[in-house]
């Protein structure tokens, strides 16, 4: 299932100009600051907004083509949409909400699929309840299930976590991760939070002032210095896709391996072999020209300088490559000059801390 979008639309002075394609299952984040036009883009895909110019193709079917006057109305597009505010039907039970799109699908999913989605989102106990009796996180889970059960060709998620507090977010995230890992369909995930993007997305599309400006795999995009300059956000650091490779319980440590080496973190509650994303903040990385042998930090990786960018008057962001993984170090401009940093130079990166999803860690933070 694939989707390609090429639209232009004038929203009363604000110009929308989106051009991208997604051709595999998994989560693609539509990332940009609030008001950059992300929701308008997904509304156009769903058919809730009719762009003045352009075309949208979903799974080979042209649902919009302004030149030949094609506009397929939203109810015939088979696009699942999870709204930020859930938008459950208040006069129906949770089960009726879940079955609303399921009943209306051209080929309704099997009853076993209903049971599977209910189990995946842990909705069994909520089925008889009314939406008014649900917490914010529960509402979002029901909205997610309702959209999934309508047999969509693509799933749009418009900041499904933005209205939730940190505890509720932590409650939903594992479900979204599971959805990503079992991915059978492309998902477009609108977000202005780099944390969410880092934890969930497989690839990222960056939206700025109504324009889609860049697209790429999440691990490359987050560590890309040009991108952080483009979005105007301070460098996020990096997210690295790792696998739990061993537990050293006597020392209270776990070893995570990734393409380029291994990281040592406090003991984890995850099985060996499981995939885990870790984040390394740019501020937490120091550089050393020679291997520091007597040092308290556990993680010292021999890397190559890939890129360098001065940020503000004091700092410089250094992008490093270690195997196929990329990460970023924020150092002072003075240090960068003293070390004589240039692309291609080998450097030892010293990581003061590696951030692991709090749910995976065995020790309370």
């Amino acid at each position: 299932m694939s989707i390609s979008v090429r639209i232009r639309h004038d929203l009363g002075g604000f110009k929308l100009d989106a051009d991208f394609a997604i051709d595999k299952p998994g989560i693609t984040a539509l990332f940009g600051p609030s008001g950059s036009g992300k929701t308008s883009i997904v509304n156009a895909i769903a058919g809730l907004l009719r762009p003045q110019d352009g075309s949208i193709v979903i799974g080979g079917e042209t649902v919009l083509d302004t030149r030949s006057g094609i506009f397929v109305p939203p109810q015939l597009r088979r696009v699942g949409y999870v709204f930020q505010d859930a938008r459950l039907f208040p006069h129906m039970s949770v089960e009726s909400n879940l079955r609303f799109g399921w009943r209306r699908a051209p080929v309704p999913a099997e009853e076993s699929e209903f049971a599977r989605v209910v189990a995946m989102l842990s909705l069994e106990a909520l089925l008889a309840r009314r939406p008014t009796k649900l917490s914010g996180g529960e509402k979002n889970r029901v909205a997610l299930g309702r959209a999934l059960l309508s047999s969509p060709r693509i799933l749009l998620l418009d900041e499904p976590l933005a209205a939730l507090d940190a505890a509720r977010k932590a409650e939903i995230l594992p479900y979204l991760e599971r959805l990503r890992d079992e991915a059978k369909l492309p998902m477009l995930y609108v977000s202005h939070s780099l944390d969410e993007v880092a934890q969930l997305a497989d690839s990222v599309i960056i939206v700025k002032d109504g324009k889609t400006v860049a697209q790429g795999p999440v691990f490359d995009m987050l560590a890309d210095l040009d991108i952080s300059a483009l979005t105007g956000t301070p460098s996020f650091g990096a997210v690295i896709d790792t696998r739990v490779s061993a537990h050293r319980e006597a020392e209270g440590l776990s070893v995570l391996s990734f393409d380029g080496g291994a990281l040592i973190v406090p003991l984890l509650r995850r099985q060996v072999g499981q995939r885990l994303r870790v984040r390394i903040r740019a501020e937490d990385v120091m550089l050393a020209a020679e291997e520091p042998r007597t040092i308290s930090a556990n993680n010292v990786l021999l890397s190559t300088v890939a890129n360098l960018r001065e940020t503000g008057s004091t700092h410089a962001d250094v992008q490093l490559r270690c195997g196929n993984a990329r990460f970023v170090a924020r150092i002072t401009r003075a240090s960068a000059h003293r070390l004589g940093l240039k692309p291609g130079m080998p450097m030892f990166a010293v990581m003061k801390s590696v951030i692991v999803d709090p749910q995976a860690s065995a020790v309370a933070p």
Binding site: A46, P90, A105, S150
Partner: protein, 228 residues
């Protein structure tokens, strides 16, 4: 306690009001849905016209009906000749007049409740594959139910009190068009009818109280149903 004539007036009032409200209800729902959702040129004029019966003197409405639907008036004569329908001097005419006078009560309440439905819910239903008719039946109607019931109950109560349009259009015929208010009026016109007028007035007050209580009860139950 009540004379057969008084019971007759009471039952006639209930029948006329019920028919008036039930016949106007689908029209009110359709027009309310149309005006709540659609934009079209002249919408403000249509909106104003639909509220007119509420502000016109009922006697004027009765008079207009008379010159339109009287047995010798063009439309009235045609209806009688071709369809055998007669409104003039008949209880159906009383129901028609009451239905028109109280139409704005239903229309307004229903329109407000339809407008109060979050349009985002309709968008969600669209993305789940629901057509316009499907959304109207499964979302708009149930979610507007509190307004529909409130409008119908208010209109019913107003129908029970209708006087001017009925007496102008269909006159004051015992057993046919003499509803409770007309019976009270007739009693006051006849010598020694004060006691009867008082009894009938008490009856009208009792009916109003029952109506208000039922409406309140129904409203609470329906709001729970509609998840508000």
């Amino acid at each position: 306690m009540l004379s057969p004539a008084e019971i007759e007036a009471l039952l006639l009032s209930l029948r006329i009001s019920a028919v008036a409200v039930l016949c106007a209800l689908p029209v009110a729902i359709a027009l309310a849905a149309l005006l709540a959702h659609r934009r079209f040129p002249g919408k403000a004029i249509v909106d104003g016209a639909l509220h007119l019966p509420m502000v016109l003197p009922p006697v004027v409405v009765g008079y207009l009906l008379l010159i339109l639907l009287g047995t010798r008036a063009p439309v009235g004569a045609w209806l009688l000749q071709h369809l055998g329908i007669r409104f003039a001097f008949s209880w159906t005419g009383a129901a028609l007049a009451s239905g028109i006078i109280t139409f704005p009560f239903q229309f307004r309440a229903i329109r407000l409740s339809i407008e109060a439905i979050d349009s985002g819910i309709g968008d969600a239903a669209k993305t789940l594959g629901a057509s316009a008719f499907d959304r109207f039946v499964n979302l708009t109607l149930p979610l507007a139910l509190p307004g529909i019931v409130a409008g119908a109950v208010t209109a019913f109560a107003a129908c029970l009190g209708e006087f001017g349009a009925i007496i102008t259009f269909v006159s004051n015929i015992p057993g046919e068009t003499r509803t409770l208010p007309l019976a009270i009026y007739s009693a006051l016109q006849s010598p020694g009818g004060e006691a009867e007028a008082a009894r009938l007035s008490m009856l009208a007050i009792g009916l109003a109280l029952i109506g208000v209580t039922l409406a309140e009860f129904a409203d609470r139950r329906i709001r729970v149903f509609a998840g508000r």
